[in-house]
């Protein structure tokens, strides 16, 4: 008798969300099965990887990833265009880290001007990220949302402390929105509820349960993402059916393993290969856990993850 593999089916489905507009718009989500389980149901869209660029030169990034963008990273638009034209970026994540009070402390208007210039220059979807300073982000993201009105960009991140203003800004300007909580499945659900109770359409939301890096808490993020996906699919919980976003690069490129020179750690091998592998493995793990949108930094690790996606989809 031939072996028939068991098949799971689920009552829930992840929201299908389109980001950006025009021919380069991208759709994520829409699946009614666990990640890459295309043999059990519908997986209409591939996960998407956004290249991270910043509004200030990446002085705090390690050399391995900084050198890739040498010559273009002095200006966010030039940087983004390089990612799109030379590296094949399908999405850009613009991190306005220069607005942080401890960095350049750019004003909301300055940040909005950067967003405006970026949107005028690129034709792929844009993810607009604050500096993750809860208070500053709420003023910065209001101005940025106005600058991005009608572009179907993604705005983030709304946290419990500042979600009211940021949700209102995303709603008024018809943007997608990232809701970020701090590695707690229940608080993640709660924030999504609070946001939808303000009248924000849950089908325009993305959940960021907070990323981590391999060997620095990856398993916490992994199990939170996995639990979100199971609640969304098996329990048909609409509050957890928005696609999941994993902000990978910023977590990976600050850990010891992506920075320690070979001279100090000869047993760890090539620093460059190690950093790229660290980012790729972290990202691939989150894809398996359920992330649909990744933000990454190194083109080599992005290519490795794209290859992984292509092989998993077969």
């Amino acid at each position: 008798m031939p072996f028939t593999p068991p098949r799971e089916s689920y009552s829930g489905k992840i929201f299908e969300e389109t980001i950006g507009s025009g021919p380069k718009a991208i759709t994520v989500g829409g699946e009614n099965v666990l990640p890459f389980h295309s043999f059990e149901g519908a997986t209409p869209h591939k996960p998407v990887i956004a290249f991270e660029v910043q509004d200030v030169p990446p002085e705090d990034w390690p050399e391995v990833v900084k050198e890739v963008y040498k010559g273009v990273s002095g200006d966010p638009v030039t940087w983004a265009k390089y990612c799109i034209e030379k590296l094949g970026a399908e999405t850009i994540a613009l991190r306005l880290v220069g607005t942080h009070p401890d960095r350049q402390n750019f004003s909301p208007d300055e940040a909005a001007e950067t967003v405006r210039k970026m949107l005028a220059a690129i034709d792929v979807p844009l993810i607009i990220l604050g500096s993750q300073h809860a208070e500053k982000d709420s003023s910065v993201l209001i101005k940025c949302a106005e600058a991005a009105k009608g572009t179907n960009s993604v705005l983030g991140k709304a946290q419990e402390a500042n979600h009211k203003t940021i949700v209102a800004a995303a709603m008024a300007n018809d943007l997608k929105l990232i809701a970020m909580s701090e590695l707690d499945i229940n608080l993640s659900k709660q924030l999504n509820i609070l946001i939808t109770q303000m009248g924000f359409d849950k089908a325009k939301l993305m959940t960021d349960p907070m990323s981590s890096a391999l060997s620095y808490g990856l398993e916490y993020t992994y199990s939170v993402m996995e639990r979100i996906k199971l609640a969304a699919l098996a329990q048909n919980d609409p509050t957890l059916q928005p696609p999941i976003l994993a902000d990978v690069g910023m977590m990976v490129w600050k850990v010891k393993e992506t920075q320690a020179p070979e001279a100090d750690m000869p047993a760890w091998g090539s620093l460059k290969d190690r950093g790229i592998a660290w980012e790729a493995v972290t990202a691939a793990s989150f894809l398996i856990a359920g992330a649909e949108v990744l933000i990454m930094r190194h083109p080599d690790s992005i290519n490795a993850v794209k290859k992984f996606i292509a092989e998993m989809e077969v």
């Binding site: 229940n186 659900k189 509820i193 609070l194 109770q197 639990r227 329990q235 919980d237 509050t239 957890l240």
Partner: protein, 260 residues
Amino acid sequence: MLIIGEKLSIIAKRVREAMFARDKAPIQEIAKRQYNEGSRMIDANIGPAEDGGEELMQWMVTTIQEAVAAPVCLDTTNQKAIEAGLKVHNGQWGKPMINSTSNDPERFGILELGAKYDALVIGLTVGKGGLPADAEERCAIAAEIMARAMEYGVPLEDLYLDPLVLQIATSQDHAAHVIKAIKMFQELNDPAMKTVVGLSNISNGAPKALRPIINKYYALLLLNAGLTAAIADAHEIAEVAKTYDVIMGKTLYAHSYLEM
């Protein structure tokens, strides 16, 4: 748990007056409120309705379904009124339910209607011989009703066994018998038989302040025994069902879980 909103009963003065005056507004307002509070089926109890029952049930079904996107539980002893209601029931939100058949041959016609109109049927575990004494007797009657349902062509997954909740103030022993019966009913078939109760009957005759307390704790015990559905006031019971789901891990906890 499926909550079948119980508030549209002819016993309530405001509802009765609206029924007789064919005044849609109060009926629809109550139906909407029950739906918003968590009922996913609305009970339309028109009593024995010996005169004009057919027309009244049709008016109730259409009036309710104009206001809420939910199926209706047709609750009357008048079988002609049931059939009239089934004819106009809009099935797009789910099958209608009939309340009820029993082991009394006079009620077998209900099974015929259930089969004919593809409706869910409540099987009240009483026979001609009066009230069942305990859980075991309820089970024996349930088995008879199940056999009858199959004979008439009502699939067992469409049959909801009702152990008959009695007033705790006058029939205290039966409160525990009913919980036991809910557990035993499920064993009568694989997949498990579905079950339903008329919940608030437990607190009938008790002082008004006690009624919600008794109803809620009783609902929790019945849920834990595996109850599928309850004809109940969603305003009172939704929090019990939601909290039960959270405690049992059927829904993921969040601080606002009651508001979902």
